[in-house]
Amino acid sequence: MEMTNKIKFKHQTFCERLKSMLKVDFRRMFTSSLFYIMAGVCLVVPILIVVMTTMMDGTVSVDPNTGAETVIEAFDNVWQTIGSVSGEGSAMSMDLTGMCNINLVYFFAAVFICIFISDDFRSGYAKNLFTVRANKGDYVASKTIVGFIGGAFMLIAFFLGSMLGGAISGLPFDTPAGTSGIVMCMISKIFLLAVFVSIYVLASVIGKQKLWQSLVGSLMIGMLFFMMIPMLIPLDAGMMNVLLSLVGGALFAFGLGSASNHILKKTSLV
């Protein structure tokens, strides 16, 4: 405590400030409908994908102009919605099973984080927030953590949705990856979220109240990294994949977090 003409100014440590900022963001996340809508989307989308592709399995569509035939193929097993076993062609492919899987969550997370952050600026809450928070690092750290946890919830929701979809459509649950591989794969995917979240946080603090700018920026930069997810994290992931994702996530969170902090310090907040 320091006295200035009888006024006491309490010094808050980074941990205390971060704790209160996290309280703000978690309260916001759990009291607004955005989080529940996004988690709901992540739960429903895999059910729809699995059930509809199973129903349409083998359907042939013919292009009336070229006469080319396209055969719709369903997933062979439930785990294809989570990832592909390394060495299999589909790990790299951009077909239905390569695109319509759990990696979609990284895009849903972009929508969630961009709306979440731009709401601070659009509602004018940023004025209340930054008036009492001279250190912008608290804000960036908190948004990254909350975005990460929100994204993790969404990944888990997608995982559960895939299980439900598989059970409804009667897809087999057998996989050569094994239970430990699937667990490692999910953990790696959660850690890798940190890379994407820090990109989205950066794009959002640049865009501020301009949601579309934040979204387009996030999705464009995110797309570059999106291509690498199947290669980095196969379904039969091991400890190395977990560590790589963790280190990559931590490095991106720290590096891009510093950049976000710098931008908030140097630009007008209203």
Binding site: N5, I7, Q12, S20, K23, V24, R27, A134, K266, T267
Partner: protein
């Protein structure tokens, strides 16, 4: 110790210079009425004080410390332009979020207390977007009061408030400065209302401080005038215009004579000119009139 000390503050927006070396001193324990035309730089100054925009140059000190000091800024309450609330959340949740932001220990109790102060405890369950303009303004004030701020920066807080709201606002602000440790900066175009509460004034124009004064100094600076009603108002006005340099008819239908020494002198003079005076009184010009006079005088220069 001054709550705010600003020296040679400048702010450029591209090629436009919003603040041109502004100096401002707000003593601790004051209600500082910050007055100026639209675009004069009031909001820009307030936003810089709150750290929301960066100054191009100059020095800003809050309670003797740099305005970027995190410990001081944690004790600043703000209502700039509109309350920063999430429209889809309830008033209660918005207040609780701000309480969490301020790291308030007994958050629920403090939120209840703040809402009660602005008579908004009944609206706690309403969604913010469904509140009226006046209600939103009160919520903004309640939010600014959370966490016992030692400096309150309020930009147009009276906008949209009804008579009762304005009275509550006056009571709240005059109440919180009583201990001498709290300071309030209020900018408003409702000068009549501001005059009822302000202890100090700062008048800004084109990004520069024209003058700063205490309420007492303003009182002594405000010229006195004699206001009268006569049976024949036209004749009274033309007769007075021949003798006194400034004679005007005000909105209430009185003839004002600004440089008269004694009312008796005017009554006698008019009587000699065949005009009977029905009513006569002496008064001082209001803050609004002082401000308009000051602006007009600057315009002429």
């Amino acid at each position: 110790m001054n709550a705010i000390e600003i020296r040679k503050l400048t702010k450029n927006f591209g090629s436009k210079q919003a603040l041109k070396g502004l100096d401002m001193t707000v003593p601790m324990g004051a209600i500082y009425g910050f007055i100026g035309e639209n675009g004069s730089g009031k909001s820009t100054t307030e936003k810089i004080v709150c750290g929301l925009i960066h100054p191009s140059g100059g020095q800003i000190k809050l309670f003797g410390r740099d305005h970027t000091d995190a410990d001081v800024r944690a004790r600043v309450g703000v209502l700039i332009e509109s309350p920063g609330c999430f429209p889809n959340l309830t008033v209660w949740n918005n207040m609780m979020i701000q309480a969490a932001n301020l790291n308030i220990k007994n958050a629920e109790k403090e939120v209840q207390k703040a809402l009660k102060m602005v008579r908004m405890e009944g609206a706690a369950g309403n969604k913010y977007k469904n509140c009226s303009l006046g209600m939103k303004q009160r919520i903004g004030i309640a939010m600014a009061l959370l966490g016992d701020p030692i400096l309150l920066v309020l930009d147009e807080p009276l906008n949209g408030l009804d008579a009762d709201g304005m009275r509550i606002m006056r009571e709240v602000l005059t109440d919180i400065i009583k201990d001498g440790k709290h300071t309030v900066v209020v900018s408003s175009h409702l000068l009549g209302e501001l005059q009822k509460i302000a202890t100090h004034y700062g008048i800004i124009r084109h990004g520069k401080m024209l003058c700063e004064m205490t309420a007492d100094e303003l009182d002594s600076s405000c010229r006195t005038y004699t206001a009268l009603r006569a049976k024949d108002m036209n004749r009274a006005k033309s007769s007075l215009s021949l003798r006194y340099s400034r004679v005007e008819e005000d909105e209430a239908g009185y003839i004002r004579v600004y440089d008269a020494r004694e009312p008796e002198e005017i009554v006698t003079y008019l009587y000699q000119n065949g005009v009977l005076v029905n009513e006569i009184k002496t008064d001082k010009i209001s803050l609004e009139e002082y401000y308009i006079d000051l602006m007009n005088a600057r315009e002429v220069r």
